[in-house]
């Protein structure tokens, strides 16, 4: 990789840093590469490693410094940018990247699965109640006493069953929401603890 390509990729990878941090790093590396005195198409990576590796070191150090600065100031201002940098750091490291993706995907699929189950239960309950009510109404206009009796009876029974099922589903949904928010709270607390220990 020649200087131009290296610098372009490095700049791209550092795009989330502040302008000051980014410019300082880019100027340093531009100067360093010039000092290497390579031929015009000389491979920069032989000396410095890939732009990805170089960017990872810079982002890691910048994140560390920002956290220290925050701890000294003891404010939460700029907390968002630290989280953002931390995420970048995680995603810049090759080993953690697949793990992070897997964890996020598992968590999202977990929420989707629970949501789908609750939704399916709700729809089944509502359909059951509606169908039961419909059968009961049809039963009223059905000729013949026995037919009326059976249709209205079974219709009301089904309708009641559906309503009970809906109630059960709403309890289940509340429980699930509580559980998921509990998990998220626990993870946030652990993350905050980790930060304090640094």
């Amino acid at each position: 990789m020649n200087k131009q390509a290296f610098m372009q990729e490095l700049e791209n990878r550092l795009r989330h840093l502040t302008d000051e941090d980014k410019l300082d790093a880019l100027e340093y590396y531009s100067e360093y590469i010039d000092d290497l005195n390579l031929p015009p198409e000389g491979d920069v990576c032989v000396h410095l490693g890939t732009p990805k590796e170089v960017a990872r070191q810079i982002i890691a150090q910048t994140t560390e410094r920002k956290i220290e600065e925050q701890q000294e100031k003891k404010t939460t201002k700029g907390f968002g940018s630290i989280i953002w940098l931390a995420i970048l750091g995680i995603f810049a490291s090759p080993i953690v990247l697949p793990l992070a993706i897997v964890a996020v995907v598992i968590f999202i699929s977990f929420i989707i699965t629970i949501g789908s189950i609750v939704f399916a239960f709700g729809v089944a309950g509502a359909a059951c109640a509606a169908a039961g009510a419909l059968v009961a109404i049809i039963g009223i206009v059905t000729p013949g006493f026995a037919q009326k009796f059976i249709a209205i009876g079974s219709g009301l029974f089904t309708c009641g069953l559906g309503i009970m099922f809906l109630l059960f589903t709403s309890v289940l949904a509340k429980l699930m929401v509580k559980m998921v928010s509990g998990i998220i709270k626990k993870m946030a607390a652990r993350h905050a603890r980790k930060k304090m220990n640094q």
């Binding site: 340093y28 590796e53 070191q57």
Partner: protein, 111 residues
């Protein structure tokens, strides 16, 4: 290299080199690399950290139509370097006392 260089020791080495004379990134890296096993991209984050904590400062000097950024040690940097030196001496003496006699001749004979 058998022994690993820790971050404070690397800070100390960089401060030590810069104290002798102002240097720019390339020469500093070459000088440290001559002695210890680091990669060429190790020192930028170190320099940036030392600069941000006020132990080093920079100034630009024009060179062949571009700039060269020189690093210079600050008074707090000198204090920190003295501290690092004192720490190193006490650490070195403790390790020496554990390792026992440092007679190079006997080591040669053992080999």
């Amino acid at each position: 290299m058998t022994y690993q260089l820790t971050a404070p020791l690397l800070d100390a080495c960089v401060l030590g080199v810069v104290e002798k004379e102002d240097v720019y990134g390339y020469t500093l890296t070459q000088r440290v690399m001559d002695v210890v096993d680091i990669s060429e991209s190790t020192l930028y984050p170190v320099l940036r950290r030392l600069q941000k904590s006020g132990l080093l400062e920079t100034y630009d000097v024009p060179y062949q139509g571009r700039n060269r950024r020189y690093y210079r040690i600050t008074p707090p940097g000198k204090d920190q370097l003295s501290f690092f030196k004192a720490e190193w001496i006490s650490y070195k003496e403790k390790i020496d006392s554990l390792l026992g006699g440092m007679n190079l001749l006997t080591i040669d004979q053992a080999n």
